[in-house]
Structures are given as C-alpha cells and as structure tokens.
C-alpha cells in the first residue's frame, strides 16, 4: 500500500498547488507579455497562434484582462481537472483504491479534458477579436482552429472514460469480495 499511498500524497499536493497557481500564472503572463517586435510567450503561442494575428499595437490593460478572461474558458476546465485529480490522489493517499468516489474523479477528469478542447474554439475566437480590436477598420481578425493536440486530448479523455468503467468494475468486485464470508 505504501507504493501507492506515499506518491499519491505528493501528487495530491502537486495538483492542489496547480489548481491555485494556474490562474495566477495565466494572469501574470497576460499582464507581462510583450507583443510588438518580440516573440510572444511560447506557452500561450502553443495554442493561440498569436503571430498570425497582425497585432498592430501593444494591447492595453482592458485587452489583456479580457484575454485572460477568454483564456480562463478552457482554463476553468483545466482547473476542474486539477480539482478532480487532487481529490483522486487524496483518496489514493488514504488507501481508498476501488471506490465510488474514485470512479467519479476519473469521469470528471475525462469530461474536463473533452470540454477543455471544445472551449478552445471560443477562446481562440475571442482572443483574436480582442487583440485586433484596436486595429484599423478592415483589419479585425477572428480566428478559429483545431490542431492535433486538441484531437489527441479528446481521444485521451475518451480513454479515461473507459478506464473509469474498468475502475467501476473493480469497485463492484471489491464490494462483492467484502461481502463474501
């Protein structure tokens, strides 16, 4: 049991920290990021493709805060995943391996992962609109996109849903075992 409980407690602390640190990190990134004449932050550029937006002015405060809000759409889903994961590892840390609560955590993680990919659509659209809002007329951009990372995460979410069903079967077997004399 020690091989599960000890590392689980560490993961519980990690995901609890990420749950609180992630929105703070995003806010600081959006407030501190420079756009003109420099490469945008690679963490955000990974999903947003900011380079193609033709941003003509350094974004003002309202734009940065609005972009933070837009990024928090999938960001909230990611925080939900962190919340589910720290609950899951919390249960593992207490030695609860096959139980109903764990199955719920797996399902929440899977749904969070799938919903997060769906929310990237409005995120991309809003950010492109917000960042080009101060451009001259005719140069506003609205951008939509999906890449292989989104597809991979959706597949991963479906796989975790299947794993949650396997864990549920394990729970039923353990309950039956507990009631076998």
């Amino acid at each position: 049991m020690d091989t599960i409980q000890k590392p689980s407690r560490r993961f519980e602390i990690l995901f609890r920290f990420l749950f609180f640190a992630y929105p703070v990190f995003l806010l600081v990134t959006w407030l501190a990021m420079t756009f003109k004449g420099a490469d945008p932050n690679p963490v955000l550029d990974f999903s947003l493709n900011i380079q193609n937006l033709n941003i003509q002015h350094e974004p003002v405060l309202w734009q940065r805060l609005a972009c933070f809000g837009a990024t928090m759409l999938p960001g909230a889903a990611l925080m939900y995943i962190f919340h589910s994961l720290y609950r899951l590892f919390g249960y593992y840390g207490k030695g609860m391996i096959f139980c109903r609560e764990n199955v719920k955590c797996y399902r929440s993680t899977a749904l969070g992962l799938i919903i997060m990919q769906i929310l990237h659509f409005p995120e991309d659209a809003l950010i492109s609109l917000i960042l080009t809002a101060t451009n001259p007329k005719g140069q506003h951009v609205i951008s939509f996109g999906m890449n292989d990372t989104n597809i991979t995460m959706i597949v991963a979410g479906i796989m975790i849903l299947v794993i949650s069903r396997i864990m549920d079967q394990g729970r039923k077997l353990q309950e039956e075992q507990a009631l076998t004399v």
Binding site: E176, L179, T180, V181
Partner: protein
C-alpha cells in the same frame, strides 16, 4: 437474497454464542454478523464446512431457500 442462513436456531441448540462460533470458524464477529443479517453475497465452502463441523450439523440445517 433468496438464500437464508439460519444460524440462530443451531447456535441455541448447541448452546453456543456467536463470538464462540466466529472464533471457532476463524472469521471475525463482523463477518459472522454479515452472514447472520443476510447481507452476505457469497459464502466459501471452507467457511460452510467449518460452520457445519463446529455446529455438528448438515448444510441443509442452516441453509434455506425462500
């Protein structure tokens, strides 16, 4: 559960307590309670054999189908 285990009658006939039976079988009093209250989903043959040996009875004396 349609299968009922009637231990109380046999325990009374043999003038034995549940605690003594549990110790004789080698299971906890909690597990024996699961059996007596009808919450058990399955019983091992080894447990049934031990109960019959200690209570000096046949499986049919303690198992009943409703």
């Amino acid at each position: 559960m349609p299968i009922v285990i009637d231990l109380d009658v046999m325990l009374a006939k043999r003038k034995m307590s549940s605690k003594e039976l549990a110790e004789g079988i080698g299971i906890t009093a909690q597990n024996l309670s699961i059996l007596k209250t009808g919450k058990a989903k399955a019983i091992r043959f080894s447990t049934l054999e031990a109960i019959c040996r200690i209570l000096e009875c046949q499986p049919g004396d303690i198992l009943r189908h409703e």
